[in-house]
């Protein structure tokens, strides 16, 4: 389990231990191939197991057939998944937030519950145009767009549309091929689309969704930090240089120390922003945390590759993937520059 003990009570420990088992059994073995050959959609093989572990309806209230997971626990789960595959974590993050958006906006969703639930993907940050039946708009980067059966679009102004895929008028544009590859992120283009149903998220609901999206991305960054540390420490414990294990070299210990510090800070920030004792994260804190952790995730992943030397640069080692994934999480859900300028606006001049 990645999270420090101080954040774990009995319920969280039991849940995370079951998620850890799911990750070891079903995600880790296919993470490399799913990144190498995303077009084969191997990542979808994790869905039945995810359903069994309650990860396909994690945020839905129990009375609606969901797990009713609190935000912080959900973030810990996301970090656990991301340590094995950030793409898998982002895919399930999008799915769960899509369901939450439908729930909060009152849009009917007639899908089965639990394990039989089809994969949803979430598109945000778009300005939806046109009356119902003639929906238009575009969204740059939608993880899972090529894999999901249902698309949930949340417009900047809170308009929510549920679309069954494939659907007339829904097209994919640019296919992203850099990081989070297993989730096959793609550009979404909507023209004269008739959604299955529509609704609206009011101010607080929209803010909650946006904050959870940012925090989910931040949790994925925390997972990358943990994975970087774990890979680097493992290698440093078996590679020799100048006759010594490199883990004994001070400069290597410093690098590992930085990663360890980042890991501690990551969970402290997630806990703080998510309201460790309960409650929802606020948008402002969520954005700040994501910005900070995205930077640290890239730094740690970069150091993990560096510490592996030439081996780190080779794909089969699996650490270069952490770098590519971290670089995507610097820009998604919003680029850091935009995010920082936005933060200033939220704070006031």
């Amino acid at each position: 389990m990645l999270a420090p003990r101080m954040y774990l009570d009995e319920t969280r420990t039991a849940l995370l231990s079951s998620v850890e088992g799911f990750v070891e059994r079903e995600i880790s073995p296919l993470a490399f191939e799913a990144d190498e050959h995303p077009e084969e959609n191997d990542i979808l093989k994790i869905l039945p197991g995810a359903g069994e572990s309650g990860l396909l309806d994690a945020l839905l209230p129990e009375e609606r057939g969901g797990q009713g997971m609190d935000p912080f626990t959900f973030l810990l789960v996301t970090a656990e998944l991301a340590a094995a595959s950030a793409a898998a974590a982002v895919l399930l993050l999008g799915h769960n937030l899509a369901l939450l958006a439908l729930e909060l906006s009152g849009v009917g969703n007639d899908t089965a519950s639990g394990e039989g639930r089809p994969l949803h993907c979430l598109a945000t940050g778009t300005r939806l145009r046109g009356p119902a039946g003639e929906l238009g708009g575009r969204c740059d980067f939608v993880p899972g767009l090529l894999q999901a059966e249902r698309l949930v679009v949340v417009g900047e102004e809170g308009r929510v549309a549920l679309i069954s895929l494939p659907c007339l008028g829904v097209r994919t544009g640019y296919l992203f091929d850099h990081g989070l590859r297993a989730a096959r992120p793609a550009e979404l283009l909507l023209k004269s689309v008739s959604p299955q149903s529509e609704g609206r998220l009011e101010g607080e609901g929209l803010e909650r969704l946006e904050a959870l999206l940012e925090m989910g991305a931040a949790a994925a960054c925390a997972g990358i930090i943990c994975a970087s540390l774990s890979a680097a420490a493992e290698y440093a414990g078996r590679r020799y240089q100048g006759g010594d294990i490199i883990g004994e070299h001070q400069q290597v210990r410093l690098m590992l120390g930085e990663m360890e510090a980042s890991r501690e800070v990551a969970f402290a920030l997630l806990a703080g922003a998510a309201g460790f004792g309960g409650g929802d994260p606020g948008s402002r804190a969520a954005r700040a945390v994501r910005r900070f952790l995205a930077e640290r995730a890239l730094g740690c992943a970069c150091d993990a590759v560096q510490l592996h030397g030439g081996y780190g640069y080779m794909r089969e080692q699996g650490v270069e993937r952490l770098m590519r994934d971290a670089s995507c999480l610097q820009a998604w859900p919003a680029p850091s520059r935009q995010l920082l300028l936005g933060l200033r606006d939220m704070t006031g001049a």
Binding site: D140, F141, G173, Y174, F176, D177, H178, E187, Y240, Q241, G242, G243, D244, Q251, L298, C302, V305, Q306, G309, G310, G312, Y313, M314, R315, E316, E320, M323, R324, S327, Q330, A331, W332, A334, P335, S336, R337, Q338, L341
Partner: protein, 490 residues
């Protein structure tokens, strides 16, 4: 653009980016013009060949790890990219570290993977030059230049890294305790090589390789030796091509040596001189160009980001925003630092070991009729201890160990500054682009992947910091030039 206009543009850019070169121009106009010519040639190669093919080659190698773009290599022949550092009298362009570094920056602004085909090739040639193995110059360097003129790339590689020893084989203190898996065993008339070398750029496509290994694993530093290898030698094979994160156009391969017999004549320098001749002198020459590779990657990325920022979206250009302007300024400042660092290091090399290659005696030898130099007596003399001693004496007459050590320290500094800059700039540019789909995106993503290698190859940046400390600050590492005439005779 007409060639004349292109030349004027290149000269203007070089003068603006390199004030130090502008100062040198006042003293040596010919040198400056020749540098302009080299950069211009590289720019033409980029326009005609590298830019149209770079993304496709990157994609293709990802699908087929054994693919090598021979057509791009052949196109490089037409621009003299395989003979940049071969002396003019042997048919090359006679460039030293400054010329080669400028060429690498230019080439890498388009594609570092393609550029590294020529970079790793030159790296393979460097030990032949810096060891002063003149007996092989006429046979191997001339043949390389001639093959280029025929449009048939004759590629070189430099092989030092072993599966369990990367950093260790580039630093004398570490080599003494390295876990080596390869060795050369002395046999009648030569050596038998057994073991593996890994991550060898161009390894799969090179005809000739320069390689270091020890003849006694119990005394690796004392017996570290530089060899010239022909891929046709029985027992040599390519075990596999690595699947790299970036710089994919240039293959990195694991090479297998099974009882490869290498004749005594193919020892460059003398047995036991491998750390200085085969590693430290080579790294003093090659790390500044790696700084230039990194600088080129950062420059290409910034050029593309600026292009993106200059395009209007919804009536506004990102370039009009102050936050973008400041970010561009910050990144250009880092770019200039790494540019000046590599130029400084390259100048230090050219003013030390480079002087040996440019010396009147070396020039005088190369002015002798080729038929004479190809003759048996000349070859015998050059391969004899006496000939070796003469070469060493020429080296010592033109430079000192202290000068070369200084060049090594500056080269290590340039490599660190460049590599770190490339990684930071490419990551930041990609972040600024956000998730916007645009034509610049695949280039920036590729540059991000390409950049990371510049912090790793030619010694990790951690090792380079250590080298800078030892050679530049503490005096704990000094390059020893080989023994002069009389001491050389055994």
């Amino acid at each position: 653009m007409s060639p004349r206009a292109a030349s004027g543009e290149t000269a203007r850019r070089l003068k603006a980016d390199f004030p130090a070169l502008e100062a040198l121009r006042a003293r040596d106009r010919g040198m400056f013009d020749s540098l302009v010519g080299v950069v211009q040639e590289c720019a033409a190669f980029n326009r005609r060949h590298a830019l149209p093919a770079a993304l496709e080659i990157d994609r293709r190698v990802r699908e087929d790890h054994d693919y090598f773009a021979w057509d791009i290599a052949e196109a490089g022949c037409g621009h003299g990219l395989f003979s940049l550092i071969i002396p003019e009298r042997l048919g090359g362009r006679g460039g030293l570290a400054v010329a080669f570094s400028l060429a690498m920056e230019e080439l890498c602004s388009a594609c570092a993977g393609i550029a590294n085909i020529f970079g790793a090739h030159a790296l393979g040639l460097v030990p032949l030059l810096t060891s002063g193995s003149m007996a092989h110059w006429d046979t191997h360097l001339r043949e390389t230049a001639l093959a280029e003129k025929r449009g048939e790339p004759l590629i070189w590689a430099y092989a030092i890294t072993e599966p369990s020893a990367g950093t260790d084989v580039e630093e004398p203190h570490f080599l003494t305790r390295a876990r080596l898996s390869m060795r050369a065993e002395r046999v009648k008339g030569g050596y038998l090589l057994n073991g593996r070398k890994c991550f060898i750029s161009n390894g799969a496509v090179a005809r000739w390789l320069t390689l270091t290994t020890c003849t006694d694993t119990a005394r690796p530093l004392e017996t570290w030796t530089l060899f010239l290898i022909d891929r046709e030698m029985p027992g040599f094979s390519v075990a596999r091509n690595e699947v790299k994160m970036g710089q994919r156009a240039c293959p990195a391969s694991e090479l297998l040596f099974e009882d490869v017999f290498v004749p005594e004549d193919n020892v460059l320098g003398r047995e036991g001189e491998g750390m200085d001749l085969g590693a430290l002198l080579v790294l003093a020459a090659s790390r500044a160009p790696v700084g230039a590779i990194a600088t080129g990657i950062a420059r290409g990325t910034l050029e593309r980001l600026r292009e993106w920022a200059g395009e209007r979206r919804g009536g506004r250009r990102p370039l009009d925003e102050q936050s973008v302007q400041m970010a561009l300024a910050d990144m250009h400042i880092e770019l200039q630092k790494s540019r000046w660092a590599y130029l400084n290091a390259a100048l230090a090399f050219d003013r030390s070991l480079g002087r040996v290659l440019d010396s009147s005696l070396t020039g005088g030898v190369l002015r002798l009729p080729a038929s004479l130099r190809a003759g048996r007596n000349w070859q015998r003399l050059m391969k004899s201890p006496l000939g070796r001693g003469i070469v060493n004496a020429v080296m010592r007459a033109n430079t000192t160990g202290e000068e070369v050590t200084r060049a090594l320290a500056l080269a290590s500094l340039a490599k660190v500054v460049g590599g770190d800059t490339a990684v930071q700039v490419t990551a930041r540019c990609l972040e600024m682009l956000g998730t916007e789909p645009c034509p610049q995106r695949p280039w920036l993503e590729k540059a991000f992947r390409d950049a990371k290698l510049t912090q790793i190859y030619e010694g990790t940046n951690q090792l380079n910091r250590l080298t800078y400390y030892l050679a530049g600050l503490e005096g704990g590492l000094e390059v020893a030039l080989p023994e002069p005439l009389l001491m050389g005779v055994r």
